[in-house]
Amino acid sequence: MNPQAQSFTPQSEGAGLGVSFKNPGRSPAKKNASWRKKDNYWGYLFLGPQTIGLAIFTLIPFVMMVGLSFSSWDGLGPISWVGLTNFKSQLHDPLLWRSITNTLTIGFITAPVGLLIALVLAVAIQQLRLRTLYLLMFFAPIVTNTIAVATIWQQILRKDSLLNTRVSHLFGFSPPDWLFNPHLALIAVCIVIIWGSLGLNVVIFLAGLESISPSVIEAARIDGAGPVQIFTKIRIPLLSPVIFFSIIVAVISSMQTFDVVYVLTSNGGPQDSTRTLVYHIYDLGFVRNDFGGSSAAALILLVLSLFLTLTQFAFQKRFVHYDS
């Protein structure tokens, strides 16, 4: 016997929902199933727009991208199957390796440096009364258009800019040519990315720090732990899931670097020193009309991102503590 049929009577159920059931012949179990069915319809209805959007803008393009990676297409003529040719030519293309190297360099510099600065700032802001004001200031770059940010930094990093010349003269050397020196341009890109992502990381870390129970800190103090020990032995381990999340987001974001190098260093220059993998994909597709090669490079980026994320998950057990 269905236990629900015993516990729910038409009167009690109807009274609870403010409706009455005029068909005493229908069993409560059937009615319950009918409600569930209706709930399902509403569920599908609400999920529909998102699912359709996901299919049109993500799934279908992804399937087409996979198909194109095995094809030759210049965007105008017919599409022809070429098997693994695009992957072979990409793997032999020095520009792909240059792009991967630059992208990984950006990731390995911006993720740790950016997160470390954000952590220090979050700890400092936690102690302040006007924390909201500071949070607003640090968060401003997140809500500012990246193109505008890159354009402003382009002015700041000019060889003859006021800031560049003053700071350089302060330390007694000639102003560096951040944007046109191949050895400095990638560092300039990293500086802008770190600055741009700082606000979000500070907010995330601050939320993580706020969630640590004061009783845990108090208990550590009673046990004789100093501020450094509390920070390294209590706060950091308890914050490790947040740090891990931020590392994943920072690394994936760095893999997608495009707008900064497109604007700040004018199409990944000078001499491809800031050419990133996403810029490489764009260049192959929309400058060289090689959509097959572009799709193959996009798949390589996907594999690289997956590899880096899985590697981070593999290592998380060593330093991430999920105990509260």
Binding site: D74, L76, Q154, Q271, F286, V287, N289, D290
Partner: protein, 427 residues
């Protein structure tokens, strides 16, 4: 009103609102031609004036302008539109892109329509040297809507401050505008604290420098031969030295707050190889009397063929309004169209023969005839660079390596030759 009546009225109102919103105003009586181009706001204003004028004399045609500000993004958008069958009916194409579109067969062949008795434009109106990259198997798929030779604009104020008494345009008229004469001026300009030469980093600059110095870039068969020609190699080595010793600055590298245009009108630059559109720049700065133009200096002093930048106007091969599109196209590139577009505040030189007075009638710059002379002997972008997407960018990158001293002129030109050969095989 009864319920049914209210429902019917509501549906009627809703339908009229929706249909009113989506139906074009002129749909019933007019043919719509969609025209797309890139351009600065001042240029777009002139195009809009032309369209308004065209619509007035062709009341059955409605022209919709779809502008894109950025040149690269314009072509990316056009490519996507062509691939999805949503491309405009008439559109501009850059001289480094047009060959690819011709090769892909997405443009309408124009010969039969141009040769018809009703056409107001004839193929013979255009110089054959300007049609190389738009001709395939005897068919022409577009014509330059106008052209711009890179004349050497010079600032008389800068020259005077540097103690230079000779006038480059006068020297050119006397056949004395030599490379040696320029070098002597460059030394004085640099000593006076100004930049002797500012030029954009593209094929026009480095290939024109080679050809002005007596070298060759491509042979008659379209093969890249600059690396095998000692004069060409020496010319590029000189160009690299000019960049390295800062007697030549690259316009693309100037900060947006202090652009090459700004520096030129602020009397910080001696020579600036640019098109006729500089008239607008120096006029806006209020110092147009300080400027004039000369051709590229040559070893002998006799003018040599140099670059002519061009943009082309083509018709979509799949347009559904073929006749209206051709009517607009021919009006745009025809004599009347070019006179209208280029006369007042014009930014280019006509590509059609017989309307030279557009350039010379205003008597500005003083030696405006130089623009026309340069077009008559000049050349447009090489067909291979116009056909293989990205080749121009790769060449520009290699030229940067030569400028930076990473590669010697010979090694760099050898690499460019290899790039061109690979592109020819790919083509």
């Amino acid at each position: 009103m009864k319920r049914k009546g209210k429902v019917a009225l509501s549906i009627g109102v809703a339908a009229s609102v929706i249909l009113g919103g989506i139906m074009p105003v002129h749909a019933a009586s007019k043919t719509t031609v969609v025209f797309s181009t890139w351009g600065a706001p001042s240029e777009l204003l002139r195009y809009k004036q032309f369209i308004a004028n065209f619509e007035k004399s062709n009341p059955s045609i409605n022209v919709v302008l779809q502008p894109v500000a950025d040149y690269t993004q314009y072509h990316a958008k056009l490519l996507t539109e062509l691939a999805t069958g949503k491309a405009p009916d008439v559109f501009y194409l850059g001289d480094d892109k047009v060959g690819k579109y011709v090769q892909a067969g997405v443009l309408m062949p124009l010969n039969s329509m141009l040769n018809s008795s009703s056409s107001t434009v004839k193929l013979s109106d255009f110089s054959p040297s300007l049609l190389g990259s738009v001709t395939r198997n005897g068919n022409v798929y577009g014509v330059p809507n106008d052209v711009n030779p890179d004349a050497w604009w010079y600032d008389k104020t800068v020259l005077t401050k540097a103690g230079i008494t000779d006038d480059p345009a006068t020297l050119a008229a006397q056949g004395k505008w030599t490379t040696a004469a320029y070098n002597a001026m460059a030394t004085k300009i640099a000593a006076a604290g100004a930049t002797p030469l500012m030029a954009y980093h593209y094929w026009g600059t480095y290939w024109a420098w080679i050809t002005s110095q007596g070298g060759t870039v491509y042979d008659k068969n379209g093969n890249f031969v600059a690396n095998k020609n000692p004069v060409s190699v020496a010319a590029i080595a000189t160009l690299a030295k000019m960049v390295q010793d800062k007697t030549m600055a690259i316009a693309d590298d100037q900060p947006s707050g202090d652009s090459s245009d700004n520096q030129f009108v602020e009397h910080k630059v001696g020579f600036y190889p640019e098109g006729r559109y500089v008239i607008g720049t120096v006029s806006a700065a209020g110092s147009k009397d300080s400027y004039d133009i000369a051709p590229w200096p040559t070893p002998s002093g006799k003018a040599a063929p140099t670059d002519v930048a061009a943009s082309f106007l083509a018709i979509n091969g799949k347009t559904k309004v073929k006749d209206a599109a051709f009517k607009f196209w021919s009006a745009y590139v025809g004599k009347a169209g070019q006179i209208f577009r280029l006369s007042t505040g014009g930014n280019a030189v006509p590509s059609i023969q017989g309307v030279d007075s557009i350039v010379t009638s205003s008597k500005y710059p003083a030696h405006a005839q130089t623009f026309l002379d340069m077009v008559h002997i000049g050349y447009t972008n090489a067909a291979i660079e116009a056909t293989v997407p990205g080749l121009s960018d790769d060449i520009a990158k290699e030229m940067r390596a030569i400028y930076a001293g990473t590669d010697t002129a010979q090694a760099g030109l050898d690499k460019i030759a290899a790039l061109v050969t690979a592109a020819q095989k790919k083509k």
